[in-house]
């Protein structure tokens, strides 16, 4: 089990390396325009070239990447071009905001989807139609519109919740919860739609299997069969979808944080890329990929625990 986990971790790190190479390479096409905007509109071509030489951007991309990687491995992601603050500190400051929204949304999504999906698959009839209806609405309404609609109803019309802003959990848990209710709701609706459909489908497939009937002939109650046997076997594919959902929510938080003016990772990344702040962009990407790797590893480990065949792979 431990070697399985280590193998998955090693694969994840290779992946992180590749993602950073590809991002750096793609960004290298914009170095010139970034430097130009750094110097302002009055700068001449010669000035831009001189500044690029200054910053080492005239060297081969691979050499520049090697420099970045070398520093990154020691925990130094460079300084922002525009604010000069160290990237790593700026990112970790804002990560808490994003994670408190995304992780909360992910957990609620998992719980709600399993409840809805399992109920739909085991009860059928009205429960099934209701779950499919909820799922369909989640697919149909773009989450952007949903977010704005929620702000309009709950913040502007009813004034129950703040429309924008963020209160840290450590400062005031009540206000923290209020400040993330709408962002979390906006993020999780689409996730619930996808995951509920997945859980429902996997449960339906699993409930048709022969072993379910055989367990019934042994006198087991349906509840025990579902909880101890069927759910465990249906969980594997659902967990994979959940890890993809994390990715989607991380992306979605970009939009959501801008709509709700949350001082998170997403709005930070957005401003950095508007300006072309290369060190910040690289830092954002690498941190995002590392988060994805951690989540995937957690999912892999859970899959290995659930499914004995996955352990040997």
């Amino acid at each position: 089990m431990i070697s399985y986990a280590l193998r998955r971790l090693a694969a994840g790190l290779v992946l992180a390396l590749l993602v950073s190479v590809i991002t750096f390479w793609l960004l290298s096409y914009s170095f010139e325009s970034v430097v130009a905007s750094l110097l302002g509109s009055g700068a001449t071509d010669a000035e831009v070239q001189a500044r690029m030489t200054d910053m080492g951007m005239d060297r081969p991309v691979l050499a520049q990447y090697a420099d970045w990687l070398g520093a990154a491995l020691t925990g130094d992601l460079g300084d922002s071009y525009f604010t000069n603050e160290p990237v790593i500190g700026a990112l970790t400051d804002r990560l808490g905001v994003t994670l408190s929204v995304v992780v909360t949304a992910l957990l609620i999504t998992a719980v709600v989807s399993v409840l809805l999906g399992v109920t739909a698959a085991t009860r059928g009839g009205g429960a099934d139609r209701a779950a499919q209806g909820i799922s369909l609405v989640g697919y149909l309404v773009p989450s952007l519109l949903l977010a704005i609609g929620l702000v309009y109803v709950f913040a502007i019309k009813l004034k129950w919740l703040p429309a924008t802003g963020f209160t840290p959990l450590s400062e005031n848990p009540g206000k923290w919860a209020q400040s993330i209710v709408i962002p979390v709701a906006a993020l999780m609706i689409a996730g619930i739609a996808t995951l509920t459909a997945q859980v429902r489908g996997a449960m339906i497939d699993e409930l048709r299997k022969d072993y379910v009937r055989t367990l019934r002939t042994r006198g087991l109650s349906p509840r025990r069969i579902v909880l101890r046997h069927v759910l465990r076997n249906a969980a594997g594919p659902a967990l994979t979808v959940l890890s993809l959902e994390f990715l989607t929510m991380l992306g979605g938080s970009l939009v959501i944080e801008n709509v709700f003016a949350l001082p998170g990772f997403g709005s930070f990344a957005f401003n950095a890329s508007l300006q072309g702040d290369i060190p910040v962009i690289m830092g954002v990407m690498i941190l995002a990929v590392l988060m994805v790797i951690v989540v995937n590893l957690a999912v892999d480990l859970m899959n290995g625990w659930l499914n004995p065949k996955a352990r040997v792979r």
Binding site: G124, R218, G219
Partner: protein, 606 residues
């Protein structure tokens, strides 16, 4: 009865079938409504400059925040004095271009990669899979935004990038489909006839996988459009390009002054994405059959049985049992009509018939585990004189495992793949006799020993995929007899096993029957097995029991024409157990003269 409709239809369809698919689609109201909605919207976008007199960026100071219905501004104007109708129509065009680029690139990358990854060997497959897993690890939206310095904010470049990020979805669909059809006969035939791989992929395989790809395209188009709207809302990209996202953004800022500026583009965007999703769903239903329906785990309580005049006596009595399923056109389809037999304590009954004769359905009805779609329409099942039909599931649960137990046909699929054998047996033990888990675990080893497993400890710690089929069948028998039942229903318990193992399992059942003094109902198609094992026989044909009697009587003097026919066919039955010599009065086990008629040369195809 639960044929999987999604995989059934993988052979290439003829032109006639394709036309009928279109016709079926035309009969689906959801498909027609959503497709025509989309069509009207696209055409309106194409005619933008005809419908609206203003250009999308034409701003007039007089028209700022003009209301709906203002002369020349049928939907009003925004805070910069631009015609909302004109903006809306041109935004449609942006969305169409977005959908075409996003979907087009996803298909252009995903389809060929999926074909290659699914068709060629495992190394190519592993490489493509690895590549697309890498793409999937990219946080999509984040990448689109951080690469703004590269794309220079052009929405077309952004959507091209997004198309590549969507490609893994297409890749997976195509690869799985190709893996499914790769070994189909017609693809094999094409390969044998010397067609190059390239041609096979293009002509045969691509043809078979197009359905799911078309369905996926509808969803990808919807995703592309909403992502582009989200990005434009954020202000990513050129603000001169008319788009729903930019309109929603400007309307949102002006929400208190003129809510319609926000509501109108939101509504149209919602209609477009919803239509695409609903159209995709309709397409899926038409091409792949209706969606899977859940099967509630508990069978609805069957209707109370109809009384019969003479009450037969016995441990287990089944009388005039009829089971029907609802067919797709709504009419009941009776699969069992008049099944009945009696089993005395300690007796062995062979329930014999060809496949599809209703043997297994009868067995499931006795156990109360028929699929939910089944209805017991009449009859009676009595255990020790107690009527079982109509008992609520809660009551039946006390009987299952304790009084009646069941051994299935296929050992592997009847074990939970994720739990060790020991854990599964402990569950079964606790179901018939509540006790702490630790105690149940201790009882597992003697139970495994009882069914002739030589190293119970190793088997108890193994997962089902780690043990052989014969071993798995012993485990299932152990689970069945854990509650010391009075009646054991064994449904073709040896059919899925090797011939040598078949004999061992049958011997084990024989042995357990004597030791536990159980009555056994042996469901089988094999008269040889009945001859060896059973005291009495019930012969089923097309849902009816046509003959019952003692084994000797039935073998010596079959009364029914069908029984005679089945007995004669033992001649052909090569799966008869081979360890014991056939009964003296049974026909010898040699190839009959029928076999010489078979075209021997036909086997040499290679």
């Amino acid at each position: 009865m639960t044929a999987d409709t999604t995989t059934a239809n993988t052979a290439p369809e003829s032109v006639a079938q394709r036309i009928s698919t279109l016709r079926r689609l035309a009969r689906n109201p959801q498909a027609v409504i959503t497709a025509s909605t989309l069509m009207v919207i696209v055409v309106a976008g194409l005619l933008a400059s005809v419908i609206s007199s203003h250009g999308p960026s034409h701003a007039s100071l007089d028209a700022i925040n003009a209301g709906i219905g203002t002369d020349g501004y049928p939907l009003g104007a925004d805070k910069d004095g631009r015609d909302i109708l004109a903006l809306l129509l041109h935004s449609i065009n942006t969305s169409v271009v977005t959908a075409l680029i996003g979907t087009g690139l996803a298909l252009a990358v995903g389809v060929p990669a999926g074909l290659i990854g699914g068709y060629f060997g495992s190394r190519v497959r592993a490489a493509t899979e690895w590549l697309f897993n890498l793409i999937m690890t990219f946080p999509g939206l984040l990448l689109l935004i951080v690469l703004m310095p590269v794309t220079k904010g052009d929405f077309r470049a952004t959507m091209a990038l997004f198309g590549v990020l969507l490609a893994p979805n297409v890749f997976r669909i195509v690869r799985n489909q190709v893996l499914g059809v790769k070994n189909e006969l017609y693809v094999d035939a094409a390969r044998v006839s010397g067609l190059p791989d390239r041609r096979i992929l293009a002509r045969h395989v691509l043809f078979a996988v197009r359905g799911p790809v078309v369905i996926a395209s509808a969803f990808l188009a919807g995703t592309s459009i909403s992502v582009q709207a989200g990005l434009a809302f954020l202000g990513v990209g050129n603000s001169e390009v008319p788009s729903f996202g930019a309109m929603i953004h400007s309307g949102f800022a002006n929400l208190y002054v003129a809510p319609s500026q926000f509501a109108i583009p939101s509504l149209l965007l919602g209609i477009i994405t919803a239509s695409l999703v609903l159209f995709g769903n309709a397409l899926r239903d038409t091409l792949e059959g209706s969606p899977r329906k859940p099967q509630p785990i508990v069978t609805p309580t069957p209707r109370a049985a109809t009384g019969t005049s003479e009450r037969a006596e016995g441990l287990l009595v089944v009388e005039d049992l009829a089971i029907s399923y609802e067919s797709p056109d709504g009419k009941p389809n009776e699969v069992v009509r008049g099944s009945g037999f009696t089993v005395q304590a300690g007796e062995t009954l062979g329930l014999v018939g060809e496949s599809g004769s209703g043997k297994t359905q009868t067995a499931f009805a006795v156990l109360g585990v028929l699929p939910p779609a089944a209805r017991v329409t009449r009859g009676s099942v009595r255990l020790d004189g107690r009527e079982l039909l109509g008992l609520p599931d809660r009551e039946m649960r006390k009987i299952r495992g304790r009084t009646i137990a069941y051994v299935p046909q296929e050992p592997m699929s009847n074990l939970d793949p994720s739990l060790t054998v020991g854990a599964q047996l402990a569950t079964s033990i606790r179901a018939v006799e509540p006790m702490p888990r630790a105690e149940a675990r201790q009882r597992v080893l003697p139970l495994l020993g009882q069914v002739g497993i030589p190293d119970p400890e190793r088997v108890a710690g193994s997962y089902p995929h780690q043990i052989s089929g014969g071993m798995a069948q012993r485990v299932l028998i152990a689970g069945a007899v854990a509650g010391r039942p009075h009646v054991l229903i064994a449904d073709e318990p040896t059919t899925a096993l090797d011939v040598t193992v078949q004999a061992e399992i049958l011997d084990l059942l024989h042995d357990l029957r004597k030791r536990l003094n159980m009555a056994v109902v042996l469901v089988t198609h094999n008269f040889g097995m009945v001859a060896d094992f059973c005291d009495r026989v019930a012969v089923m044909r097309q849902g009816e029991v046509v003959e019952t009697g003692t084994t000797t009587e039935t073998f010596d003097a079959p009364r029914h024409e069908y029984t005679r026919m089945l007995l004669d066919s033992i001649l052909d039955d090569t799966t008869t157990r081979s360890d014991a010599p056939p009964r003296a009065d049974a026909p010898p086990l040699v190839d009959g003269p029928q076999h010489t008629d078979a075209p021997i040369g036909g086997k040499r195809t290679s």
